[in-house]
């Protein structure tokens, strides 16, 4: 039975392998300098300290959004609002960050908590509408993303914009609010520690607390959970609060850690990537870290590829959608599992 236990893991690895092979196939078809392009995609992200740094820097926001999405998906809630919250909370954190006169520890803490609180509030609206009137959370959360982008740009342009800057961006974030670098030669910041700490907290919450148990029960079967006395409406609301908070502090930390000014004029896309991270991780908090690093790795690889070769980074979108389709395909490689089951049965019988 040991083999069967690892079936899901094998399958995920198979999906990853197929995705990488497909990438190679694309490069073979498109690139004029095939071997060099492949080398850039696969090896460049680990070729130097600063490139490894890039991978880690990108993995940090993905861990946050991956965790936020994993909580939603575990509840069978298809809420993609992490995208808009990540953006808007980042703006809130920047608004706090540009203030002056706060001490270096309190300032970022305040900014991050403000971003998280706003994220929680936004997610609460969607969660409340879902719990109370069963309003389709997928559609409302996506509409909220567009609304948050519009309102955020309005605030940026009318209240936070530094007219002396060359591009559309806010005033400089105060040095006291910026997160400290923790690995020399890279831009990896203290946000990594917060992210990993959060992974542990979410793990403990989901598997070791009563609320986490209610969450898992409601996700598995809402009607059954309701019958066994769980207030599923309340569960939906607090999962939204927590998930919004995580996405919110993720956006805040990204801005304070990586951006001297707030300069997003479009949704950054980390929220949607979080959906892929969560699905690859099968919604497990610890596995989110692994899949965030995997996605960050191929992202940085694709980025290097588009910079130093003739293949554009957008190719990755095709690969990512193949991963999404296959990783959630129940029947994919099922025959293999069935054969293992059969063998097991024959051996025992």
């Amino acid at each position: 039975m040991l083999k069967l236990k690892y079936f899901e893991l094998f399958r995920t690895l198979a999906v990853v392998l197929i995705a990488l092979l497909l990438t190679m196939l694309f490069i073979l078809l498109i690139s004029d300098n095939k071997l060099e392009t492949m080398r850039i995609f696969l090896a460049e992200p680990v070729s130097s300290r600063s490139h490894v740094g890039n991978v880690i820097e990108l993995a940090i926001p993905l861990i946050f959004t991956g965790l936020a999405m994993a909580l939603m998906f575990r509840m069978n809630l298809f809420n993609l609002g992490a995208e808009g919250i990540f953006f808007f909370s980042g703006l809130v954190a920047a608004a706090v960050g540009i203030q002056t006169g706060l001490s270096p520890f309190v300032h970022p803490l305040l900014a991050i908590l403000a971003g998280g609180a706003v994220g929680s509030m936004i997610a609460f609206v969607v969660g409340f509408l879902k719990a109370k009137w069963d309003a389709n959370e997928l559609v409302t959360s996506l509409m909220f993303n567009s609304i948050l982008l519009g309102v955020g740009l309005y605030i940026l342009n009318y209240f936070l914009r530094d007219a002396s800057a060359y591009t559309t961006s806010s005033y400089k974030i105060a040095a006291t609010a910026q997160l400290a670098r923790i690995i020399p030669g890279t831009r990896v910041h203290t946000g990594l520690i917060v992210a990993l700490l959060l992974v542990v907290l979410v793990y403990l919450f989901v598997y070791k607390t009563r609320w986490g148990y209610e969450l898992r029960m409601t996700g598995a079967n809402r009607a059954f959970a309701e019958y066994s006395g769980i207030k599923t409406g309340r569960t939906i609301v607090y999962v939204h609060l927590i998930s919004g908070f995580i996405a919110g502090i993720g956006g805040s930390i990204e801005v304070l850690g990586m951006h001297p000014r707030f300069d997003w004029t479009a949704l950054p896309g980390h929220g949607f990537d979080g959906a892929l991270v969560a699905m690859l991780a099968k919604n497990g908090p610890a596995a989110v870290v692994l899949s965030a690093f995997f996605l960050a790795y191929i992202r940085v690889g694709a980025d290097m590829m588009s910079r130093y070769s003739d293949v554009p980074a957008e190719m990755l979108a095709v690969i990512q959608s193949v991963i999404l389709l296959l990783v959630s395909a129940d029947q994919f490689l099922k025959f293999w599992k069935n054969r293992m089951l059969l063998k097991e049965a024959q051996k025992n019988g």
């Binding site: 498109i30 298809f78 993609l80 509408l129 109370k132 009137w133 069963d134 309003a135 389709n136 997928l138 559609v139 409302t140 996506l142 509409m143 909220f144 567009s146 609304i147 982008l149 519009g150 309102v151 740009l153 309005y154 342009n157 009318y158 949607f272 959906a275 892929l276 699905m279 554009p312 957008e314 190719m315 990755l316 979108a317 095709v318 990512q320 959608s321 193949v322 999404l324 389709l325 959630s328 395909a329 129940d330 029947q331 994919f332």
Partner: protein, 306 residues
């Protein structure tokens, strides 16, 4: 405020409602068919976007807008078929499958565009064609109504014909009956000999067809070229229109026009001195409000009934 009223009570504004409703209505009809068959197609947004690009590319290379339209339709149906294959054959969750289709479209269209033209923003390098406008004789000469109803894009008229067609299809044809049956109770439908999987395939591919017509309108009517992420959430608004329209052809058409009105209003308001960032959120805000009112009414009704 006076200026606003001035804008709203013009024939141009009434005309523009039809124009902006077209893509929403097409996609909402697609949502209607797939939803009624019990396989909600969340990938409409991505299918629209992909078809918008395919239409531009095919029309540019063949020199014919009509062949471009065929290409867009074929592309949309293929994408819907892929979604159907994964959800019906490989048992991918239909929602996640739709999300994957959208992810593909958003980046994949830029990828294809870049491979063909070397640009990532628009298809201005491609000499793509536009589908024509139709001026209806007699009607166009009626005062006030003429300029509102005549002179629309050919796909605008087709969208309204499609709404009638979908109404007829669901109500009066064996296929429509089968679609409704597999959506309401697949096991019961199967027990009386309806091939569930096949019916769902047909419904999904048809939804892809309608979404692709909406996409073709975007790049060969609404605008004359493809731009990155040009569908801008219309596929999602269509899903909201379908659910607010209580999954009926008449209701879906009516709510599509309602959201079209919100969009036209948002376009018209840009003439006033209101920050454009805020105005752009009007269609989405209207959709959320619409959805909430609908959901609130439905639960209240259910509580009264139960």
């Amino acid at each position: 405020m006076d200026k606003l009223l001035e804008i709203l009570f013009t024939t141009e504004f009434a005309y523009s409602i039809f124009r902006v409703t077209t893509p929403i209505l097409f996609a909402a009809l697609g949502a209607l068919l797939s939803n009624r068959a019990g396989v909600p197609n969340i990938g409409l947004e991505g299918i629209m976007l992909t078809s918008a690009l395919v239409g531009v590319i095919v029309s540019a290379y063949t020199g014919s807008a009509w062949i471009g339209l065929l290409g867009a339709a074929a592309g949309g149906m293929l994408l819907a078929w892929i979604l159907a294959f994964f959800t019906l054959q490989l048992k991918t969750d239909v929602i996640l499958g739709g999300i994957a289709i959208n992810a593909f479209a958003s980046g994949g269209t830029v990828f294809i565009l870049y491979m063909l033209t070397g640009e990532k923003g628009t298809s201005s390098q491609l000499a793509s064609k536009m589908l024509p406008e139709v001026h209806i004789p007699l009607i166009r000469d009626i005062p006030v109504l003429g300029p509102i109803l005549s002179g629309h894009h050919v796909l605008t008229y087709l969208s309204i014909i499609s709404a009638v067609f979908v109404y007829w299809l669901l109500k009066h044809t064996p296929l429509g009956l089968r679609i409704r049956a597999v959506g309401e109770n697949p096991k019961a439908a199967q027990s009386v000999g309806v091939r569930v999987k096949r019916t769902r395939y047909i419904a999904l591919v048809l939804s892809g067809l309608f979404a692709s017509l909406g996409g073709a309108f975007m790049s060969m009517g609404y605008l004359s070229l493809f731009t990155r992420d040009m569908t801008a959430g219309r596929g999602w608004i269509a899903l909201a229109a379908e659910s607010m329209g209580r999954s009926t052809a008449v209701g879906t058409t009516a709510t599509s026009f309602l959201f079209g009105f919100a969009q036209a209003l948002s376009n018209a308001l840009q003439l006033l001195k209101i920050p454009s960032e805020l105005i752009q959120t009007v269609p989405y805000l209207a959709t959320v409000i619409g959805l909430v009112i609908y959901a609130w009414q439905r639960t209240r009704k259910a509580q009264k009934g139960g």
